[in-house]
Symmetry: C2
Subunit: 401 residues, 2 copies
C-alpha cells in the first residue's frame, strides 16, 4: 500500500496558484486528477468509470491498495487489469513534480467545471480527460465557434491552400480553428487562423510544454499566445501512437464540426472524423482529384461516413447550422469555385508578396487591399507564405523578409 497524502493542505500546497478559487474539496479533486493524468493513459474508460463512481481522490486510494480490490463499476477481471496498468505508475509526489514543472513552463491546470473548462469535452462521457494542461487560454473558444480542421501530414499544395482558405474563412467570420499542430494540413490551418488574428487551439499528443513536431515549434508558440496549446498528459510526456489517436478525440469533441481537408486512405484524420461521428458532430470532407492519393480518405468519408462535401468556409457554417451570418455576406469572396477562380492561386501569392514591404509591417487588411484580394484569402496566403519564408509575422503586422 502506498500512503497517499490527499489532504487539503498538501493539495493546496502542490497546486500553488492552481488552487486559487477552489474549495478544499475542489483542491483535493484537482490534485488527485493531476495524479490520474499520470497513471491512466488518455481515454481509459475504466479510469473514467472509477472517477465518476467514487470521485478522483477516493478512486486513487483504491489504486493505492497493495492488491486489486473490487472496483466500482468494473467486473473482477477488468478491475485486476486496470489495477495492474495503473499501480506501477503510482508514485508519491508524481503530481507535485508535474505541477511544479507546469508552473515553471507556464501551463495552467484545468479540471472539469473550471470556468475555462470546455464543456463540449464532457460529451466524451467516461472518455472525458481527467484534466487539461493548457498553455495559453481556452476561453477563446467560448466566443468563437470552434471548428476542427484536420488532415494529412503528407499533404499536397492543393490541400494546404484549401486548408488555409477554409481556416481563414472560419477565423475571419467569428470562428476558431482547432487542430493538431502537425505538419501538412493541421499546420496550414493553424497558420491561416493566426494570419487573420483568429483564435486557434492545438491539442498535442505529448505534454503541452513539448512542441511537437519540433519543426512547428515557432507556430506552436504563437498558438499559445493567440489561443491555446492543450494536452491531457502532464508536462514532459512523450507522444505515442496511442496518444495521437486519443488526442484526436479531443479535437473532435471540442470542434462543433470536423472538416477533413486531405487524408490518405488510412489517414489518422479518419480517426478524428470517426470520433466526431460517434459524438454526433457533423463531419465535412473536402473533395479533391480522384487521382490524388491525398484525397482518397476524404472521398472515403463522403462514401462511407456520410460526410458532407465541403467546398469552402461557407459550407462549414452550414454544417454547424448556419452560424456565422457574416460568412454569408462574404460568400462571393470565399467560395473559390464560384467565379472562374481556376488557376489564379500562384498569381495571388505573388500579389500578396508585392503588397508587403520589407521595412514597414502591414496588417492583413492593408495587405488584402494592396493585393486586391479578400481579407480571408490574403490571410490564408500569408500563412502559407510564412511557411515558405516569403513573409514574416510580428511587430504589428506582416513584412517581406
Amino acid at each position: 500500500m502506498i500512503t497517499l497524502d490527499l489532504s487539503a493542505t498538501t493539495a493546496r500546497d502542490a497546486l500553488a496558484g492552481y488552487g486559487e478559487g477552489r474549495s478544499d474539496d475542489g483542491a483535493v479533486d484537482a490534485f488527485a486528477r493531476a495524479t490520474w493524468s499520470h497513471i491512466a493513459e488518455p481515454g481509459d474508460a475504466h479510469a473514467g468509470a472509477l472517477i465518476t463512481a467514487l470521485g478522483a481522490a477516493a478512486a486513487l486510494e483504491v489504486v493505492a491498495h497493495s492488491a486489486p480490490t473490487p472496483l466500482a463499476g468494473l467486473d473482477a477481471a477488468a478491475a485486476r487489469d486496470a489495477w495492474a496498468r495503473w499501480r506501477p505508475r503510482l508514485e508519491e509526489g508524481v503530481a507535485v513534480r508535474s505541477l511544479r514543472a507546469a508552473e515553471r513552463v507556464g501551463l495552467t491546470l484545468l479540471t472539469p467545471g473550471d470556468p475555462e473548462w470546455p464543456a463540449p469535452l464532457d460529451d466524451l462521457g467516461l472518455h472525458t480527460p481527467a484534466v487539461l494542461w493548457v498553455k495559453g487560454s481556452l476561453g477563446v473558444v467560448r466566443a468563437a465557434t470552434p471548428i476542427a480542421v484536420v488532415g494529412a501530414r503528407a499533404s499536397t499544395s492543393y490541400g494546404e491552400l484549401v486548408a488555409a482558405d477554409i481556416a481563414a474563412g472560419i477565423g475571419a467570420n467569428g470562428g476558431s480553428v482547432v487542430s493538431g499542430a502537425a505538419y501538412g494540413i493541421d499546420g496550414a490551418a493553424h497558420r491561416a487562423a493566426l494570419a487573420v488574428d483568429a483564435p486557434t487551439v492545438a491539442f498535442l499528443a505529448g505534454g503541452a510544454d513539448r512542441a511537437y513536431p519540433s519543426g512547428n515549434s515557432k507556430m506552436i508558440a504563437e498558438i499559445a499566445v493567440r489561443g491555446a496549446v492543450v494536452s491531457e498528459l502532464p508536462p514532459g510526456s512523450a507522444p505515442t501512437r496511442w496518444r495521437f489517436l486519443q488526442r484526436n478525440r479531443l479535437i473532435a469533441a471540442l470542434g462543433e464540426a470536423t472538416v477533413v481537408v486531405e487524408a490518405g486512405w488510412r489517414s489518422g484524420s479518419l480517426n478524428t472524423a470517426g470520433h466526431a461521428v460517434s459524438l454526433g458532430r457533423p463531419v465535412g470532407a473536402v473533395p479533391g482529384p480522384i487521382t490524388s492519393a491525398a484525397s482518397a480518405g476524404c472521398h472515403r468519408l463522403l462514401r462511407e461516413y456520410d460526410a458532407v462535401a465541403v467546398t469552402g468556409a461557407d459550407d462549414v457554417w452550414e454544417l454547424v447550422g448556419g452560424l456565422g451570418r457574416e460568412a454569408r455576406a462574404h460568400a462571393g469572396q470565399v467560395r473559390p469555385a464560384a467565379a472562374g477562380h481556376e488557376h489564379p492561386r500562384t498569381d495571388d501569392a505573388t500579389r500578396v508578396v508585392d503588397a508587403l514591404s520589407a521595412r514597414t509591417a502591414r496588417t492583413v487588411s492593408e495587405v488584402a487591399r494592396g493585393a486586391g484580394l479578400s481579407f480571408e484569402h490574403a490571410g490564408a496566403l500569408l500563412g502559407l507564405l510564412e511557411l515558405d519564408g516569403r513573409a514574416i509575422r510580428g511587430g504589428g503586422g506582416w513584412r517581406r523578409p
Copy 2:
C-alpha cells in the same frame, strides 16, 4: 379539318421495311407515332396523356379537327393550348417523308413494345417518347448494363481522363456507356468505350442522321456501328435548347445509374442528374478540386442531390447494386487513388504511344501488354490519344499516325 389517311394500307406503304412484323393495328400505330414525333416537342406530357388515353392514331385524328375539341385527360385550357401547339405542324404526308428519309440514311424506327425498344424508357410515363429513330442497334444495352456517363463540354484534362477511365472500366466489365456525344466529357466517355470495344449509345438532341456537334461526326459514325445513335425527333430535325434538356431525360432513363464526371455550377449535366433522381435512378458525381469551376456542379450534386461520390468504375458498379463481379477482380487496376498513382498519367500516355506501331494495327490488349498498363486504362488513353490525333483506330486495331 385535315383528312388523315391512317389506313393500314397507307401505313404499311409508308413504313415499308419498318412495317415488317407488325399487325395492321401495329402498323397504323407506328405510322401515327412517327407523325407525333413531328408535331409534339420531346417530353410533351399532354401528347403523352392523349396518346395513352386514345392511342396514337385516334389522338392524331383529334388534332386533325379544325377546332380544339375536349381532349381526353386534359382540361379545356390545356387542350386549347396543346391543339394550338400541334395543329400548325400537322401536314399530310409529313411522316411519309420522314420515313423515306430515314430509310435513305439507314435509320430504324422503334415504337414502344418493339423487341429492341428499351423498356427502361417506359419509366418516363407520360414523358415516354412516341418513337425512337435509331442509327445502329439498341439491342446492345440488353446484354451490357447501360450506365450514363455525362459531363461538361467545358471539361478539363483531369475530367476527360477520369471520364475515359471510368467509361473504359464500365465497358471492359460488361457495361455499356450512354451519353450525349457532346464535346468534353461525353466525347471522352464514348471514345473510351469504343476503344475497349464496348457498346455505347449516344442520344442526340436533333435528328439521328445529323451528327451534332459536327466536330464529333467521325466518333458519332463509330458509335452507330458499335452501338446506337438515337433521337426521338425525325431525321433532319435541328437541335434546340429545349431538345437538349429533353434529350437528357432519355440518357437518364436508359442508364441504370447516371455518373456526372465534371460539371459547372449550372451545367446541363445537372439537368440529366435531376432526371435520374426523379426516376429513382442512382446518381454518382466525381469529386474534383474545389478550386476547379469544372467540378463545382459535381460538388453541388454531392451536397444538394445526395449523389454518391464516385472515384472509379468500381464505385459505379456499387451504385447499380454490385453488378460487374469482374469489376472487383480488376479493383487494384482501375482505382487510381489506391496506389501512389498520383502523377503517372502523362507518362502512361507516352507509354501507350510507344506501344503503337505506324505500320501494324494492334488490339487494345496488345497495346496494354506493350505499355504495361491495364486493359481499361490503355483503352481509356487510346480514346484520348485519338482525340489528339496521336492514335488512329481502324483496320483491326490501333496505329500510330
